[in-house]
C-alpha cells in the first residue's frame, strides 16, 4: 500500500475515535434542545463527572471495564435526571435565558464540587488490556476498536429508541409542541426525565471512554470537549439526532486533519472557525430546519 493511503487510513481511524466521543456527548445537547429548546450547558461537565465515576469505580471499587462503564452510565443518568428536576423544571415556563444561565451555573458548580474533592488530576488505571494490531501499516488498538464500536452501537440504539419506541415517539411529539401532549395520556415530565437520563448516560459513557483513551482527568476536562460536542450538534442541526452524529464525525475529521497538517495549536481555532462559517452559510446546520413559527 502506498504510504499516503496508509497515512490517510490511520488518520481516518483517529477521526472516527474522536468523532464517536463527540457524538455521544452531542446527542445529549441535541436531545435536550429538541424537547425543551434549551441548551444544557452543564452537559460537558456531566461528561467530566462520568470520567470521575469511572475513576471511582476502577480505583475504589476495583471494578473491571464492563461493570465500571455500567455504573458510570447509571450514575450520570441519575445525575442528569436530578439536575433537570431540581434546576430546570422550576424554570420550564421562565424565559429560556434563565434556564441557560442556570445551566451554566450548574456546570460551574459541578466543576468546583469535583475540584473540592479532587484538587489534583487523577489517573484512571488501564481497565482494558491494550493489544495493537498492524493492518498493513495501519495500527489499530483494541481500545480504539472498543471506543468506536461501542459508540456506534449506542448511537444505533438511541436512533432506534427515538424512532421506533413509544417513549421515542413521545419525545418527538414533545419536540413538535408539548402543549397538547398530555391530552394523549402521555406523562410529559416522565418523558423529559427519560430524555435527560439517556443524554446524561451517553455523556457518562463518553467520559469513561475518553478517560481510558486519555487517562489523566481533571475537573475542567469537560469544558473544551463539551464545547466541541456542542459545535458538533449545531453543525449537524441542533435538535436533530442524526445531524448531531454527522456533525461530530465532521468535527472529529476536521480536527484530526488540522492536527496532521498544521501546528496542533490551530486545532481549536479551526473548530470554532468552522462553526462561525457554518452559521453564516447554513444557519440551521446540515440537517436542521427552521422552526415553523405558528401564527
Amino acid at each position: 500500500m502506498s504510504e499516503w493511503i496508509v497515512y490517510g487510513l490511520q488518520q481516518l481511524l483517529n477521526a472516527l475515535q474522536l468523532g464517536s466521543i463527540y457524538a455521544l456527548i452531542a446527542l445529549g445537547y441535541t436531545m435536550v434542545y429538541g424537547i425543551l429548546t434549551m441548551i444544557n450547558f452543564a452537559h460537558g461537565d456531566v461528561f467530566m463527572i462520568g470520567a470521575f465515576f469511572c475513576f471511582l469505580a476502577a480505583v475504589y471499587l476495583g471494578l473491571p471495564f464492563a461493570p465500571a462503564l455500567l455504573l458510570t452510565v447509571v450514575g450520570t443518568a441519575l445525575l442528569g435526571v436530578a439536575i433537570e428536576r431540581l434546576a430546570y423544571k422550576p424554570l420550564r415556563n421562565a424565559p429560556r435565558v434563565s434556564a441557560i444561565i442556570t445551566a451554566l451555573g450548574i456546570g460551574i458548580f459541578l466543576e468546583n464540587f469535583t475540584l473540592a474533592l479532587a484538587p489534583y488530576p487523577k489517573h484512571i488505571p488501564a481497565l482494558l488490556d491494550s493489544t495493537n494490531w498492524d493492518l498493513g501499516g495501519v495500527s489499530l488498538s483494541s481500545l480504539q476498536l472498543i471506543i468506536i464500536c461501542l459508540s456506534l452501537g449506542l448511537m444505533f440504539l438511541l436512533d432506534y429508541i427515538v424512532h421506533r419506541t413509544p417513549v421515542g415517539m413521545a419525545m418527538r411529539a414533545i419536540s413538535w409542541d408539548k402543549t397538547f401532549v398530555p391530552l394523549m395520556g402521555v406523562p410529559v415530565d416522565l418523558v423529559i426525565s427519560v430524555t435527560f437520563a439517556i443524554g446524561a448516560g451517553l455523556a457518562g459513557a463518553a467520559g469513561t471512554m475518553y478517560g481510558l483513551a486519555y487517562p489523566v482527568i481533571d475537573p475542567y476536562m469537560g469544558i473544551m470537549v463539551g464545547w466541541k460536542a456542542f459545535i458538533s450538534a449545531v453543525v449537524g442541526g441542533i435538535g436533530n439526532i442524526r445531524g448531531a452524529m454527522i456533525g461530530a464525525f465532521i468535527l472529529g475529521g476536521v480536527e484530526i486533519m488540522v492536527a496532521a497538517a498544521l501546528p496542533s495549536t490551530y486545532r481549536d481555532f479551526v473548530a470554532f472557525a468552522l462553526l462561525l462559517v457554518l452559521l453564516i452559510v447554513r444557519p440551521y446546520g446540515i440537517l436542521g430546519s427552521p422552526r415553523i413559527q405558528k401564527v
Partner: protein, 226 residues
C-alpha cells in the same frame, strides 16, 4: 374560575353534561370556551370544582384525566406534524391497558376516515386542514374516552367538510360517546346539540335545548347573523 397569568378568563360558570348527550358551548372569540375545555382536561389550573363520573378532577394530572375517560380534540387540532398519521394515533393509546383491542380500534378509525388509512405512513404535517381535523378526532377515538371534548372542530374548514365533521360527531355520539362541543359556528352546533349554553365574556348568559336556542331572537341577533 380559570385565570391565565392572573387575568380571569372565566367566573361563575356552572354547567353539566349528561351521559350520552351532545352539549354545546357557544360564544364569541374570547368568551372563555377554550379555557373551560383546558380546565376539564387539566391543562390549566382553576378555582372551583370539576367532576367526572363522581370523581373530582382538580388534583388529577392532565395525562391521568385521559385514562379516566376524557378525550379532547384541541383547538387548532394539535397534530404532531413530525409524526406519521399512524404514530399520532398510536401515541393516543399510551395510557390504554387493553392492548389487545387497539388493533381493532385502528380499523374502526380507518373505516370512519378512509383518507387516514391511505396516508397512514405520511408525516401528518403534510395533511390538509380537513384531514388533520379527522386525525385529531381519530386520535381522540383511539384513547377510548367516554366523554369527548371538541374545541372548534369546524375552524378553517370548507362548508362541505364542516358538514362531514358534524355528521361524524353525531355518529360518534350514537356509538355511545358523550360530546361536549365548543363552537363559534352556532348554527351547526345548535342543530346537533341536545342542550346548549351561551357564554359571554367568561359567564353563561343563556342555556336551553339546542333547537330551542336556534329560534331564540337574542341568539339570532348575536350569533346567527340576524
Amino acid at each position: 374560575m380559570v385565570t391565565y397569568d392572573g387575568i380571569k378568563a372565566l367566573q361563575g360558570v356552572s354547567f353539566s353534561v349528561g351521559s350520552g348527550e351532545i352539549v354545546t358551548l357557544i360564544g364569541a372569540n374570547g368568551a372563555g370556551k377554550t379555557s373551560i375545555l383546558r380546565a376539564i382536561s387539566g391543562l390549566v389550573g382553576y378555582k372551583g370544582s370539576i367532576q367526572f363520573e363522581g370523581q373530582d378532577l382538580k388534583r388529577v394530572p392532565a395525562h391521568r384525566i385521559v385514562a379516566l375517560g376524557i378525550a379532547q380534540v384541541p383547538e387548532g387540532r394539535g397534530i404532531f406534524g413530525n409524526l406519521t398519521v399512524l404514530e399520532n394515533l398510536r401515541l393516543a393509546t399510551w395510557q390504554r391497558t387493553d392492548k389487545s383491542e387497539i388493533e381493532g380500534d385502528y380499523e374502526r378509525v380507518f373505516q370512519t376516515f378512509p383518507r387516514l388509512k391511505e396516508r397512514q405512513n405520511q408525516a401528518s404535517g403534510t395533511l390538509s386542514g380537513g384531514e388533520q381535523q379527522m386525525l385529531a378526532v381519530g386520535r381522540a377515538l383511539m384513547s377510548r374516552g367516554r366523554l369527548m371534548l371538541l374545541d372548534e372542530p369546524s375552524m378553517g374548514l370548507s362548508p362541505r367538510l364542516v358538514q362531514d365533521i358534524f355528521r361524524i360527531i353525531q355518529e360518534i355520539n350514537k356509538a355511545g360517546i358523550t360530546i361536549l362541543l365548543v363552537e363559534q359556528n352556532a348554527n351547526m352546533a345548535l342543530r346537533i346539540a341536545s342542550r346548549a349554553y351561551v357564554l359571554e365574556t367568561g359567564s353563561i348568559i343563556l342555556s336551553g335545548a339546542g333547537r330551542e336556542l336556534l329560534g331564540d331572537t337574542r341568539i339570532k341577533e348575536a350569533y346567527l347573523g340576524g
